[in-house]
């Protein structure tokens, strides 16, 4: 594990109750992996299911934590702020219940100037829940 739950806010701008990643498990120039447990009191729980919006936000925060971590290895400066420029090719297969343990994998497909095109996939165990592509702009 690269960043634990206690330190994840050093690398993402979000704060409770909007934090949708717990731990950064892996980060390199090709992509990132995070872990996240769906707590009962998550603000995106409806009818005991975590919403698609939360899973999409989970992918975005996986990017934020990964890019933030990599930036911290190169400089002591504050991490750049990232914005979601676009979400495409969204495919929702299933939604997790509360207490589910999620693993999210992000692959960096290409980078053009400050724009990163990524593919994110959220899994519960080995079952895929949601995937999409995002354009992340670092400013």
């Amino acid at each position: 594990m690269l960043v634990n739950k206690e330190n994840i806010t050093q690398f993402i701008p979000q704060r409770a109750p909007f934090i949708m990643v717990d731990e950064l498990a892996h980060a390199d120039e090709n992509g990132f992996t995070t872990q996240f447990k769906v707590e009962n009191n998550n603000i995106f729980i409806e009818d005991n299911l975590l919403s698609e919006s939360a899973l999409t936000e989970n992918i975005a925060q996986t990017c934020a934590s990964g890019f933030g971590y990599l930036a911290s290895l190169e400089s002591d400066a504050e991490p750049k702020v990232g914005f979601i420029g676009a979400i495409t090719r969204l495919k929702v297969t299933d939604l997790p219940k509360s207490n589910a343990q999620l693993t999210t994998k992000v692959e960096i497909l290409t980078t053009f100037d400050a724009i990163h095109l990524v593919k994110g996939v959220v899994y519960e165990n080995d079952k895929q829940l949601l995937e999409c592509q995002m354009k992340i702009v670092l400013a």
Binding site: L109, T110, T111, F112, I115, H116, L117, K135, V137
Partner: protein, 80 residues
């Protein structure tokens, strides 16, 4: 790849990716306006160029491109 092959290949993948008619992709036409590209769309353009023509253009490359003719010149320089 000959220039005619570059033009034909380019028309095919750009019309599919950016949903424009092949006939609008003419050598003298402005690439950005014809494809209705905003700044975020350029990353999609980079992806399809890499997939279909085998090289990854840079932002410096795009600064020199106004028309599709400029783009075909770039492709010829990069792949031949």
């Amino acid at each position: 790849m000959t220039r005619d092959e570059i033009i034909e290949t380019t028309k095919r993948f750009l019309s599919e990716e950016f949903e424009v008619e092949k006939d609008t992709i003419q050598a003298k036409n402005n690439l950005q306006k014809t494809l209705d590209l905003d700044s975020l769309d350029y990353v999609d353009l980079v992806v399809v160029i890499e997939e279909n023509l085998g090289f990854k253009p840079t932002s410096e490359d795009f600064k020199a491109i106004d028309t599709f003719n400029d783009f075909y010149d770039l492709v010829e320089k990069k792949i031949n």
